[in-house]
Structures are given as C-alpha cells and as structure tokens.
Symmetry: C2
Subunit: 345 residues, 2 copies
C-alpha cells in the first residue's frame, strides 16, 4: 500500500512565516533562521510552544473578555522569551503563559543536575553547549469553583565534546481545584489519558503517579492539587515519537481546561468559599517557592527573568494559623483527596 | 572594695516559681526541674525566653485590645513549645510569638550544619546529645504605616563524646517598614545600638552589617526590610557575658517596637497604600520560604511543628506581575533603601 509520508511543513501545518502570524508575538528565534532549519527538532519544538501559547491565550481571552499583556525579553547569555500575562481580568485573577528559548554553555555539574537521572555528560574543557525551550503556564481564576491549572512542555538538547547530541523532553499538565468536582476531575484526567494512550498504554498510569509524587507539599502531607500527568527526561523510543507525544499533550491544554472554566463561569460563591480559595493559594505558593525544581533552578540562575518565573504566584494568598476545615465540610472533603490521591479514570 | 556579687536568683529577678506566674503558659520544662537546675545556662535561658514572650505578648495585647491564643505543643523526639498567635486583631493582622525548647540527639552532619562556621563535632557512635531553645516572633500589623517586626533569640548546647559541652547563642531583631520613616528607623536602630554598646562597641556595626547581608532577597536584589542586628554562633568572651548581651537584646524588643506602633496607630491610609503593603508582604513570603535558614531547616526536620514555623507568614499577600512604583513616589523611595541599605545612627 502506497502510504504517502507527508513532508514536515505539511505534517506541522504549513509554511513557517504563515504559521507565525497566529502567534502572540514573533517567535524568539528569527523567522529566517527557523525557515533555514525547519527540519530540526529545535525549530519544530519552538513552533509548537509558540502555537500552544497562542491557542491557550486566545481561548482564555475569549472567555474572559480581557487581553493579555505581551512582553518580549532577551537573555544576555543567549536567547529570550515571550511572557503573556493577564492580571485582574473578569474571570482570571492572574493568568500567565510563558515561552522561553535559551541557549549557551553549561558546566558539567549544571548539566548533570538538569537531568533527573543525573547522567554524566562530557564537555569540551568542561563546557557543554545547550539549547532549552519550553512553554509554561499557570492560571488562577477568581471564582473558587474554577480550578487553577498549570502546564509545562519543554525540550532540551546538549552537545558533548565528541559531537554527540543528547536530547530529552519533559512536561505535564495538572489541575488544582479549590473544591472537589468529580465530573471535572474525571474529564481532565480522561482527556490526558486519551492523549497518552495514543502513544503508549503505560504513559498515563506512570505519568499520573509521577505527577502525584512531584506536586507533593511534604511539610503539609498534601499534594498541591488533583494531579494530571508529569514526565521528565523522556528520550525514547525515538525523537520523532517523543515529539509526537509531547505535541499530543500540548494539544490537550485547551480541551482539558476550557470546558471546566465555561461550566463554572457563573457559579455563585460565598465569602467563606473565597477564603478557602485564598488558603489553598497559600499552599500553592508554598509548593512553588519551597519545592518546585523549575522555580528553584530559575531563581538560582544568574540572568534569569524573575518576573516570568514568579508569574506563577497568585495575585493574592492567605495564611491562617492552624486552619482546619470542619469535619464533613466540602473543604475537608477536598483535603482528604489531597492527603490520599485517588484514581480519576 | 567589697562589691557584693548578687546570687543568680537576685540577678535574674527572684524565685523561679514566682517568675513563672507572669508567663503566657508554664515553661516547657517542668518547674521543679528548672528549680533544681537553676544555675544552669539552659534554665536561665528558658526563663529569659519565656519572660520575653510574656512581656512582648502583653504589650501587644494592650495596644490591640485582643488576646493571644496560646498553644502548648510537644515534640515526640524531646521537648516542645508554646506558640502564641493573635490573628485578625484590631491593630495586628497576624502576630506570632513562639518559644521552643527541644532536645535529643543530632547526627554529626546535622550538628555541623547548625553552626554557621561548620565546626566539626565528634559524637559518641556518631550521635550528639543537644539542647536548643529560643524565642521568635513576627508581627504583621494591618496599617501599612506600622512596620512588621521580627526577632529571634536562641541558645544551643551540644555534648561531644569526650564530655565537652559546646554552646553558642544567636539572634537579632529587624524591622520591615512598608514606607520609610526616618524617625522610626533611627529610633529602632538606636535602641539596638545602645544595647549592643553596653557590651562591645563592635557589636552594633558588625551585627548591623550581618543583618543586611542575611535578610537579602537575592533574586530581587532587595533586602527584606531596613535591618537591625543579626548574629549567630556567638561563644566568646564567656558564656556569662554572651548571655548578658542576649538578655540586653531581648529586653529591647518592647522599647524598639511599641513606640513605633503607638505613634502610627491612628494614621489613615489609602487602598493604594494597602496594596503596596500587600506587595511587600509577598516579598516577605519569598524571603521566608526561599532563603530563611530557620524555616528551611524547620520544614526539612521530621517532627517539627509546621504551624509554628509558618506562623511568620502574613495573613494576606499579593504578587503583581512587573510591579514597579512610579519614579519619585513614596513606594520607590522605600525600594531605594531596600536596594542599598543605609546607616541609621
């Protein structure tokens, strides 16, 4: 059977310059450079993260009625990014969608730390040229019946002294509701599972567990939310197949989240429900500042853009001493799930 | 000249059982045990931290009109504490004053980490019996014209395999105003300098610098507040002299802070000033969760009481993307001082 293998630009939706027109801002890398290197993974991934940013921002703008502020920034050491932030909108208290494409040289130690498996990499005179890119987003809505969502998809490549290119992908999407809604949780996890199942039946169960483990606030004995998927260091079976998986995941961001937002858009809420949201926001801050690897790495890296790293923090948060919801309340029901993660599909 | 050397109970104000009556709660250690060991440094320090807690709490209650909630807690591994918290009072948004007295065994590695100079300590079978105690407090007022204050005074002793007792004191008091007030800053630093000068003319200049260095939010390029004093690992010239210095410092807590509170009690403020306070509260959270050694050590220590560690976090905080005060505003004047610490005396 003569199956026609589509060319790259067909597979990924046409001409580069044309595709760039839909972005929130021109890509970080010059369009001409991208066109010259259109078959390379770094180009294909940069196009994917720019597209994901645009799709998600536009879907959020539509539902909110507000507009994202778009900031382009450059990194002195190489590369830069595009930060889109909407603050104090009608629906969203704070919504941030950030793309970054950075490159330069890493020390062997820094390179080792970047891989969760801590693989040893040999650099030329101890230096390793690298290229890293990703899209990441955190959305904090105003209404406590609309959950917070976070996602991040990233690609990393590094060149060893002998010219070998090491590469890997990482990412995930996870949901942080303020109140448990079984239908929402099951919708969210099912959309992710479907995307995973197209590629490998082990992906969803493995990456769901990884997510619960990663987003764990150890000192509270609670997860940050109801999870989703999380993976890192993915470099098999092939670059093409992993990219295809990451693309499937990136394409789920809107269908995972927007139906939940629309459903609860007009839910009424009490001041007590708003308070509980603010307490949960405090826990979100605790996770992000104490445990999140990306935040810790970012804050410790000279030349990183702090405002883009910390745009994940909510507009407002609250810490009440000895806060403990009443037994049998909706708040304590939420806590139970955070204390022992459940299955959603 | 026949100078009468006062007995310990005279020097430190009388009978132990009698002194305990003024405390927020009976001391952590049984009163009878304290009486038996009344000459020991651990007893004298426990009495001092209990007294400091009581004096400060009562002064705050008087000005606020509210009452502290008093929680006694026990540490499974040895010792416990007394946490006093007032939340959502008339004057104070959140006020916490905590005493802890803990003991047990440390690993050599943990013991080494506890000393900022990283001294090597030899334990019996790798274990070192230790006793640690301290009083610490953070007060977040509602009115943005009343600054936040923090203080902590602590004592540590550890027994090496050969029976040698290592001991040291640490502590400090520092102020975090939302708006610069030259008179307040100078009052605060002068009271501390006076206490320091009675013991060593180098203490104030050295510990002022240490304070600015310690309370530095590196990723923001800002100090947390306008400083005060900070010291650690203090073990000379003699135990008696260092204790006497720590006592002088502890006695300044009320005169450092209360006059400033009273002065601004009825200052009016705008919603914009309240917002700026909330942004600064966000920075306070960043410092405490990302850099503070006590918080990091506490959260990583099994069996520690998380609610007492995190009572230092404000009731409410705010993170605005790309917040930058207008040039020449009172807010930017505050930022300038945080970006380049000044002299106050």
């Amino acid at each position: 059977m003569a199956t026609k293998i589509p060319r790259v630009e067909e597979r990924e939706g046409g001409d580069i310059a044309e595709r760039c027109k839909s972005f929130m801002s021109p890509p970080v890398t010059d369009i001409q450079v991208l066109q010259q290197r259109k078959g390379e993974m770094s180009t294909r991934m940069e196009m994917l993260i720019m597209e994901t940013q645009a799709e998600f921002c536009k879907a959020l703008e539509e539902v909110d009625g507000g507009k994202f502020r778009v900031d382009r920034w450059q990194r002195k050491e190489g590369g830069g990014g595009i930060s889109c932030v909407m603050q104090d909108g009608k629906v969203f208290e704070k919504a941030g969608v950030n793309v970054s494409v950075v490159y330069g040289n890493l020390t062997e130690e820094a390179a080792r730390q970047m891989r969760s498996r801590g693989k040893v990499l040999k650099g030329k005179d101890g230096k390793l040229p690298f290229r890293a890119m990703g899209v990441s987003s955190v959305i904090h809505p105003k209404n406590p019946h609309i959950p917070t969502v976070h996602f991040n998809y990233r690609y990393f490549e590094i060149e060893e002294a002998d010219g070998t290119k090491q590469w890997w992908f990482g990412g995930g999407t996870d949901l942080t509701p303020i109140y448990i809604n079984l239908e929402d949780g099951s919708h969210f996890h099912n959309v992710l599972k479907e995307a995973c199942d197209k590629h490998n039946p082990q992906y969803y169960p493995d990456f769901k567990k990884w997510c619960d483990r990663y987003f764990y606030i150890r000192h509270r004995g609670e997860t940050r939310g109801i999870g989703g998927i999380f993976f890192d260091d993915l470099d098999s079976p092939s670059q093409e197949e992993v990219f295809s998986f990451v693309k499937s995941c990136a394409k789920t961001v809107v269908p995972c989240y927007l139906p939940i937002v629309r459903k609860h858009l007009n839910d009424s809420f009490s001041p007590e429900e708003k308070d509980w949201q603010q307490v949960r926001r405090g826990r979100y801050v605790e996770f992000n500042l104490v445990y999140d690897r990306g935040v810790k790495f970012g804050l410790a890296t000279p030349g990183s853009r702090v405002e883009s790293i910390l745009m994940s923090l909510p507009l407002t948060a609250r810490w009440e001493y000895m806060h403990e919801p009443a037994k049998g309340s909706k708040e304590s029901e939420m806590l139970e799930v955070l204390r022992s993660p459940r299955e959603w599909v």
